[in-house]
Amino acid sequence: MKFWQTIPLGRVRLGVQLFMLVFLLYGGSILGHYLADRVSGALPALACAYDGETADHCVLVPMQHQIHHQVGEGLVRMQEFAVKMVIPLFFTLLTFFTMFVVLNKAFCGWICPLGTVQELIYRLGRWLGRPVKRLMPGKVEKVRPAKWLMLVGLVFALPLATGLGVAPHAAGDAFCEVCPSRVLTTLATGEAEELAVNTSGWADLALGAIRSFLFGFIIIAALAVRQPFCRICPMLALHATFRRLALTRLTKKPHAKCEKCGICHKACPMDIHEIWKKDGSKAFHEDCILCGRCAEYCPDDGVIAIKFGPLAVFESSRNYYKARVKTEKPDGSRAKRRAPRREGSS
């Protein structure tokens, strides 16, 4: 057994997630008032801009602002097209792209604060004995287009329409207006402001109502459904766009036993059945969050791996699988410990 197989990947990931959660939510309070602006300058892709004490700002904020103010309003003025409109958007995308070529979907599974909190709530659900609700093949496909609609509609179309003057001002950052992470991260720092609904106009009211509703829904749904918001998150769609170029990725080799096994599918928090049925590039699905659970719960050596460039960061192995299922079932439930055999018992 290799040295990295002695520590469960899930434990390491949880440690990274908790560290990032504390850093992103409270980093500004601990490391300095201006940290958010500093880190955002380098990595504008992490926590919520609406929280004054976070250590970073989400990339979707500048992206929507660029589309609203630079592209939309710029199209109206029709002046200096290249300099004022295309170049700013290009560089925002470039910044975003630079990060996601390296991390890509590992952002979702290892760093995103909302993703971490949903996982913690799901763990709470296991502890409270709530049922596990999975989206099986046939149903999961119906949910998948939602993330693309969120990306195209809320991140691109509505901010653009606002810039063009055909949508209300509140839609200028439409995704942020409905994002439940905005409520979660601010509540976590003691501010209830983002839970409050703006009543100054019908659009503000409607978007604020959706945001609060989504927040409430996710907090409860995550007790039984793994990663409920991740499935419709536009970040997932953005990552999916660049995943073939990413250095961090998932690989799967064909294996004769896969057909009858399917444990990787049970372990997947995004209910991706393709990881079971397909191999090669098709196994690295657009919904993957690179959590690595499929690799952890694959009972065969070297079939599924998380790779960074040519390096295998983690590979499935039979010994690791045996040790892992003793502590946690593929669906996240705690494994029942076998009672020690009594001598003489039949």
């Binding site: 390491v12 955002s40 609406y50 609904v197 960061v313």
Partner: protein, 306 residues
Amino acid sequence: MFLPVRVHLCVLPLALVAGLSTSHAAPPDTASASAAESDQAAREDAHAHHGHSMQDNWTEQPLLRKARNANRRVKLLRVDGLVASQLTVQPPTEAGEPTQTKQIPLTDGKAGVRVLGKLQGGWYRVSARADDRENRASTLVYFGNPGPAPRDMLKASLPGLDISPAILPTEHQHYRAGETWPFMVRMSGDPVANQSVRLETSAGSAETYISDAEGVVHVTFPDDFPPPEQREKAMGGHHHRFSQQFVLSTHIESDQHLAQKASFNYEYRPGAYDQKSLWLGSGFALLGMLAAVPLVRQRKTKESGK
């Protein structure tokens, strides 16, 4: 195992380069805008009252008034109530680097402040000192590009009497009604204790504060905003980002010092819960929770439901 974190740190320099280049071609390294850019900023100023209340003559203190939404590279400032020939611009600097103070000549009391270097964004402190050196007005301008934290810029005190913020809002924060923020009173860099500082707002509120032993005054912005319908009327239908102006002023009656009066003016916005309903938001969140309850209920199977 911690590869994603290492990767995260490794990408910092590369992403920083891209982030610093967030827009436009590189401008010349100067704080002074060209005449054409100033003219354009002035034209946009005339059109761009969107997002702010614009009231004049609400104070006798000197003010540095800003153009609204001038553009990403140039902010036009107008000096009111002070006879000065130039503006002093202090951009934020990286830790340990010397402050790069720039002088910009005023034309008809106006000048354009331009973002420095490779679009070095963040807070810039701008001041105008009267030609007789008895009076100083100062304010801040913000450029949306990534830039250094303003710690060193705020530490650097101007000669004579000076009043400045001790800490500044981050990019998505603002001074808001009901919030308390610290400001510093200094004389040639030394804190001035027990100094009277007067707050005036464009809505007519006034309050006097006294600095502590470190020369710090904690100023609470009053909730003196007009009702929403009046704001909308004043803004021509654009009530978002409605703001009012404030000025903090102080003076010292002493012959030992050159500058006896100093003021700092900026804007503040309505309070955190202005036109917001926490009850309504909580209600919708509760509704969302109720909608999710069927998912977490344990279904009774034939075996368990007997």
